[in-house]
């Protein structure tokens, strides 16, 4: 019974010899050479090496897209699901298995388009999991169609004269959704990624990170404006000046994301659905007293006589 399983401990177990990058590596990624997703994968290995969760308690979940191939490249329990539904699937795992750590990977299409509604609900319910959106502003797997984050004017196969629809502002969208940990990072900034991923994973609740990750095939140069090596400006959030619990301040910070600032926009503690459901279970069961489950159903039948 799941109720007998101890919740996943927030404090990582320390056994440095156990979980190595080698043990976590599976198939060689099928991504194109130069894809930003390689860096995300490498940093995720590093973070898991640092956290040392029991190998068998790590689950990687994804929907459909280039970045959603992630579970095949991780040697952990994994599930490659259908387009847009990775979050509800992960919700089912998270709520029914308090002992496992649930990580969800996906792209902007999965997160903000076909699965947009699920993002809002997983966030407001504050499901205990970590969600990394590898945002490349384009549909890559299907070879260059406009994505919900493509900027106006972006030329794609579905908008040959340039995109005409206002793109989603991921930070504002996530702030409105009710997520309790919201951050933004960049696949070219590995140290920053590592720090943000670690904080996201250690957050007790729905933690979501938008990670700008360049598609070198279909939208090369998309994030040069925030990449100093390519002439852009890299600006991180100074948390001595920005109160991460102030959503109004976070909204203000999210006003211009071209290129905008990177770091933690928002973080608050609110009870997770996992905890609230468990409380309901505990309250219900304490009212019933010491009865076997079979006897509970027997009693129910008695009332139907």
């Amino acid at each position: 019974m799941s109720t007998a399983i101890a919740p996943a401990s927030a404090a990582p177990l320390v056994d440095p010899n156990k979980l190595t990058k080698k043990a976590l590596t599976a198939d060689h990624p099928t991504w194109c050479p130069g894809c930003g997703d390689f860096a995300v994968l490498n940093i995720f290995y590093r973070v898991l090496e640092k956290l040392q969760y029991p190998h068998e308690n790590i689950v990687c979940v994804a929907g459909i897209g280039c970045s959603s191939r992630f579970p095949y490249f991780m040697n952990t329990h994994g599930i490659h699901f259908i387009h847009g539904r990775a979050l509800p699937l992960a919700t089912g795992i998270s709520l029914s298995r308090p002992d496992v750590h649930v990580f969800v990977f996906g792209g902007d299409g999965d997160g903000f388009s076909i699965g947009g509604n699920h993002l809002n609900h997983a966030a407001r319910k504050n499901i205990k999991l970590t969600y990394v959106i590898m945002d490349n502003f384009v549909y890559g797997l299907t070879k260059k169609q406009t994505s919900p984050t493509s900027p106006i004017g972006f030329k794609s196969k579905t908008d040959p004269t340039g995109s005409i629809d206002r793109p989603i502002n991921p930070m504002k969208q996530l702030l409105a959704s009710g997520a309790t940990f919201i951050a933004r990072t960049h696949a070219a900034q590995v140290k920053h990624m590592e720090e943000v991923f670690t904080r996201a994973i250690l957050h007790d609740g729905f933690s979501v990170v938008e990670c700008l990750s360049e598609c070198v095939m279909f939208y090369a140069g998309a994030f040069d404006d925030s990449w100093p090596k390519k002439g852009g400006t890299w600006e991180t959030i100074d948390e001595t000046q920005h109160d991460v619990t102030d959503d109004q301040a976070a909204f203000k910070l999210a006003e211009n994301l071209a290129p905008g600032k990177f770091g933690v926009y928002y973080q608050v503690n609110r009870p997770t659905k996992n905890a609230l459901e468990q409380k309901w279970i505990d309250d219900t069961r304490s009212k019933l007293g010491d009865v076997s489950q079979k006897d509970i159903l027997k009693k129910r039948f008695e009332a139907m006589r």
Binding site: G78, S96, R97
Partner: protein, 612 residues
Amino acid sequence: MTFQSPNLNRANHPIMSTATAATPSSSPTTTLRNAVIRLAGNSQDGIQSIGGFLARLAGRTAQEVMTYMTIPSTISGGPSIFQVHLGSGEVLHEGDEADVLVAFYKHSYESHISALRDGGICFYDTADMGPEDVKHERGIVHISVPFTSATVEAVGGSTRDRGKNMFVLGMVTAVFNLDKEKLVGIVSRQFGKKDESVLRNALLAFDAGFAYQVGDIEKFAFVPGEATSGHRISADGNQMLTMGLIAAGVRYGAAYPITPWSSILETLRVELPKYGGIYVQAEDELAAVSMTIGAAFAGHLAITGSSGPGLSLKMEALGYASMAELPLICVNVQRGGPSTGLPTSVEQSDLMQAIYGSHGDTPRIVVAPQDVEDCFYIALEACKLAKKYSCPVIILSDQALSSRIEAFEEPDLDKHWVEPELDLSTRPEGFKPYPLDSITRHAPPGSKMAGGKYPVSTGLEHDEMGHPSGSPKMHTLMTAKRRNKLVQLAKELPLPEIHGDQTGDVLVIGWGSTYGPIKESVDRLRLEGHKAGALHLRHLHPMPDGLDGLFKKFKHVVCVEMNDSGLYGYGQLATLLRASLADPRIKSVCKTDGLAFRIREIVTGVEKIMTA
């Protein structure tokens, strides 16, 4: 036609017994074996509750019962009926026509007087109609009763006409000599949870109805039902499905509200925490099935469900469950379709969707309960099959089963209880998530892999290790692996028993909630001299091997279904049987009026095919 009395038209029916006995009351009492009472009013009059009390009483007095109700698909109010078929023998259907009609309003009278049999009794409320509104026809006995004013008089205060349902219940109790003491007990338990004055007013109205002198008609009494050794319970189909799922070890899942599925969602949401589980109200149907697949992937037996429109939305994910070979229970409480269709009516038009919905070749198991009691056992079986074959199982219930109340023997939980299990054992070296030579057994998160290689559950075509594979050979082998589970199951399934003649003129085939009406129709056909049998299929995909052998013993084979006969003249089950058995004798009796089959509709339809 079910009871007779000196005052009423006689009809000869073999199961009927009539005797006049002396009772303490001055009116003569007629014993009867069964009766159909139709209560017609508006949905806010509480006729469903009194119908429910009568049904529960039947369960407690070793009688059989089957109820039928219509619910307006409006938000509040609107005409509504509740029909109760009470009997001391086997009650297989809700009753073709009523023996007693209780009309709360003039509009109820006008809409339902045609449902009253010749010589039946009609009680009507004088508040809304008078003798001038009565149609004197077909020997019907009309009795005017002031339900409203008598209730107001009895209860007093400012209750107005609230409670007139209880007045009617009291009156019916007196007319049919029902067990007043037991009924008061049932009412008290129901209303006792509320404010004290609610129960007091209900009982005042009940007593007034019980004491009301309905005039010069004889009273009736049911012959005692055959007492069974165990306890009897009364419940509707959605309740029994839910209890079956819990008994089978289901503790997790998610769903979205839709009529007539919702009450299963509501009950699981409230009940599962008692068993340490969680049932989630999801944001939509796609999320509901996805969360459920998440719980299944996590190693639990999990269930989602909906009605037709919701099932359409779940189809992509159900295809995933077939591909990834995850065990999953999905209930479809069918209603009239397509689209929003007839949300509160019955239809059996989702059979093809259940079997073939989704895209690609998606083998899954489809089963259907035959009556309310069977809802419990079909849930147990569905869960067993999902675990054994590691694939989705669809339970096809319907609106009629979902809401009708029947009384039956309480399931023996000591025999049927299944303890939920989560297998987190370490998987041995060389573990294959998708072996070609055996059924997939997933290693859920939390299970260690001795070989060091962790599995990925996938919707891409894959090899035995779960690696994506576009190999033509692998797709052929894996498609066969998934399909062969059903081939194996078809061999294991027992052939259903034929009710009635084992060989002869006609075999009448059905599935789902038509079980009772078809059985009764076959009895009727046999009384009329035909050699007839009834065969009911609970396993619809796969069907058991060897049906053709049974069909060969009959001259005619007729499928009775509540769906459209379609372009080629055959219902959905008939189409499947014709395609798989290539037997051109298989014919259809179909209907699409959103109502359960009446006996005479089946008998007439079958006879028409036999004489064609």
